[in-house]
Symmetry: C2
Subunit: 515 residues, 2 copies
């Protein structure tokens, strides 16, 4: 691979930067913006290289290559103590660490992003796109954007352009933005006001199963006053937002068993039980027609919002109708509650469902198995193990015998309804109080980069392992997202709007120089 | 492709055979069996070549190549008037026709089989197998059979061996058996008692959408007293069977629509409606827990069985418990009714179901669509259009707006539940009375080849376009199947037991020399 890095050997310049006096917020914004405008082609080229490296759980070599590439990007920016933090458990993708000690700074912020992406099914991407061949488009393909050739040198990049690739928004975008922000400050001679640490994880999309182990092993290295989590989208209104918590998350795989071999649907139809039908009936039993989960006790345990959290929710712009129209559906779930109200409740989602084939490959068969992948999101007070137990109890109440392995012949002979339940590793929700002094500083910093009021969200609908930081390190976390909301993260055609990369750079630079 | 045909130029021998006197049944059986035993290697080699040609609806060139290969096989056997019967509609796979006029014969039988197979998903086949690379195994792979190398010349072939390939049982097996039976008779100097016509269709697995057109265009050529349909399995007990009818069949594709683009299941979960859940609820509403279809009027219109049909049903060996154990499930659908009772009722089966991804490709998303393929089987009295209309009405009653195209933005904005219903071409059921004189002759012929009583089945659970023969030609049809019941027809790992090929050859030869 041909690597193109921005900074030849800039260590002397960076060292000089650290000696200059504190710069007022407006001046910082102006400087980093100018720096970006002068270097956006190089930044885009470097980001394109980073996105070209496959980084999904199924490709551990690709993940490792991504980690070493990020480490090299950090070293070239003069970041100190760059290292791959490995877990004791073998085969775990390493986290990438580095730091910048700022003379006179009394507070330390760790900037977190993750370099792994959600699994990909390349066949589902739009024609001309491929998950690890980053491609520019003139806008969102869903709204008529057209694919573009690589931009000619010297021509300004349009902020509305999109860069399509797995991880472009979630969350190599976080890695790139953080590193570009530090670089812009250093190259512009602006001194950060806080000590900076960097921690880029490689297992977030797999539920961060070894994050606790990693944090525990590197407790001293990771000491800080606050973690800044750069992941997720800005508000759908386009406003920047600061998010104080995240839902917890756990996936549960379900496999319903039918006959051992696929049967002719004519010769055996009506008689041999169909696992797709059994799975459909089971899934259908989990929600009512308004989308409310019918699993007993599903909404118990929820810790109510505080007065300031409720207040913040009321101030969030309501864009529900606009998004609903854009997404093309007539009625949301949730009996009239708003999106922000609903993400403060636990959820149950079918991520995927499959039995035999559909479309041109469909054959007249009774399938042998039917599978579904559930996604349970948790809010403060829920415990992921307890939430799974409730779902399992529900499944049993529908008449299923629940196993955690392939059913044995004896089980097949005994139980009319057989299901394998395979919970993955998960974690609980976490919320940071809105009124901590450090939180106010972060909000102020973000606000200093834009005129429109920054949205304060008590919790994100998405998940981050914030609970693990709290449990293992006692750490406080605040999330500062940068991606466009319509980024198709987790799905085919993931993309980032260039404007969001550049605005994110300004946001991160502001936090690094916060009061 | 290297072709190896059995008969160099055998026309003189065949012509001689037609002059000999009628041979008694026992002697016919002995002669064709000896012939097969001496030539089984060559027959297997020829069949393997035929199975190597891809013949699925998605590959029209492969279908055409299969048809011309079969025509060549027929010409080499000295069959007269071999021709490809094309439909007026372009692109339709041709039927292959040929005939043998027997001096003195007063009755004409058309032997029908189809050379197209069900769609394939090669990835689902067992390791070492590929749909169009025929492979021998020492027995059913599902029961511990092992893959075998091609057999050494001169060693006898074990009747328990299986040949794995798409179409091996359904229904190139029918084509091969019919042609091999005629060859064995001709080569053994046995004169058929009836005029023979051959009609091999290429669109059966697609619901025979142009069969009526083809039959109508070649009405004179196809005049006969009876059609012998060679398709489907012998009885699960291993006994030969004669089947007097078939269920009708129609497939219906369903697509439920969710948000226009896939959404992060955290940021939008609880709020954006999930099409997989909507589809699950809909499918789950179509049957009760005993497998009875809850679609209003679904069991109406059914023509009751006659006294002789009921009597025949009572004589069918009940193997339900044995098969249930073998297939590994505890309780069949149908509230205690037997398999043969249940196949005399209309059915609704989920052939396949899919939304987004499961397993390693599953991502935390709210999918954009959820799809299912339904298979409706029909019995005498049902009309396939009427049966579809009942299902559509049921879907509407569940609150869906039914469309037959991609929904428009206006439809998306208006209807909370949107579904696309795509019915394919289908046909109705057909049953031939058990007591027709010709039917008795066929049963007697089949019975003459085995000691165990032949099973008489008023209808097959599977489907054949018998209704079309009746409608267009006024033709009578009787089905004489030859495949093993555990052949995975319609699914991955389709296979035929060699013993069934050889016993089928004897069956067909007996029918060709029936009294």
């Amino acid at each position: 691979m041909k690597k193109r890095y921005l900074l030849g050997s800039l260590l002397p310049i960076i060292a000089a930067a650290l000696l200059v006096a504190a710069t007022p917020p407006d001046a910082v914004l102006k400087k980093v913006r100018q720096y970006r405008q002068r270097h956006e082609h190089e930044l885009l080229a470097e980001y394109t290289q980073l996105l070209s490296i496959p980084s999904v759980a199924a490709d551990s070599a690709g993940l490792r290559r991504t980690a070493t590439t990020i480490a090299a990007m950090m070293r070239q920016r003069g970041i100190a103590h760059v290292q791959l933090l490995g877990a004791t458990t073998p085969g775990v993708p390493p986290a990438v660490f580095g730091e910048v000690r700022v003379p006179g700074a009394t507070r330390t912020l760790v900037f977190y992003a993750h370099y792994d992406g959600q699994p990909v099914n390349a066949a589902q991407w739009a024609p001309g796109l491929s998950p690890f061949k980053p491609t520019l488009a003139s806008g969102s393909l869903a709204s008529g954007g057209q694919l573009l050739p690589p931009p000619a040198a010297g021509t300004p990049l349009n902020a509305e352009w999109r860069l399509y690739a797995r991880g472009s928004s979630d969350d190599k975008g976080g890695v790139m933005t953080i590193l570009a922000a530090y670089q812009a400050l250093a190259q512009s001679g602006v001194k950060p006001t806080v000590n900076l640490k960097f921690f880029f994880e490689g297992e977030e999309e797999g539920g961060s199963p070894h994050l606790g182990e990693l944090l525990g092993q590197h407790r001293d290295l990771l000491q800080s006053d606050l973690w800044i989590i750069c992941d997720g989208p800005v508000h759908q209104s386009g406003r920047k937002q600061v998010v104080f918590g995240a839902r917890g998350d756990v996936n549960v795989g379900l496999t319903v068993y039918g006959p051992k071999r696929p049967l002719h649907s004519g010769h055996y139809g009506n008689w041999a039980p169909n696992p797709a039908m059994a799975l459909a009936r089971l899934l259908g039993s989990m929600k009512d027609s308004t989308g409310r989960v019918t699993v007993a006790g599903f909404y118990d345990d929820v810790v109510p919002l505080t007065a300031s959290e409720k207040d913040a929710l009321h101030r969030v712009p309501n864009i529900d109708d606009d998004i609903r129209r854009e997404l093309g559906f007539a009625r949301p779930d949730g009996q009239g509650q708003s999106l922000v109200e609903l993400i403060n409740q636990p959820s149950l989602n079918i991520n995927g469902m499959r039995s035999a084939n559909v479309g041109p490959q469909a054959a007249n068969v009774i399938p042998t198995i039917a599978e579904a992948e559930l996604d349970l999101r948790l809010v403060l007070g829920n415990d992921y193990q307890r939430q799974i137990a409730k779902v399992v109890r529900h499944i049993e109440r529908q008449g299923f015998f629940v196993t955690h392995a392939e059913p044995t012949d004896a089980e097949r002979a005994r139980y009319p309804h057989l299901i394998r339940v395979a919970p993955e590793t998960g974690y609980n929700a976490q919320r940071t109080p809105l009124d901590l002094p450090l939180a106010r500083s972060v909000v102020q910093a973000v606000q200093s980069t834009v005129a429109q009021p920054v949205v304060l969200l008590p919790t994100s609908g998405g998940s981050l392992p914030l609970y693990v930081f709290k449990q293992v390190l006692g750490a406080t976390t605040i999330t500062v997202p940068i991606a466009n909301y319509d980024n198709n993260q987790h799905a085919e055609n993931e993309n980032i709007r260039l404007g969001n990369l550049w605005e994110g750079l300004e946001t991160m630079a502001a936090v690094m120089t916060m009061k």
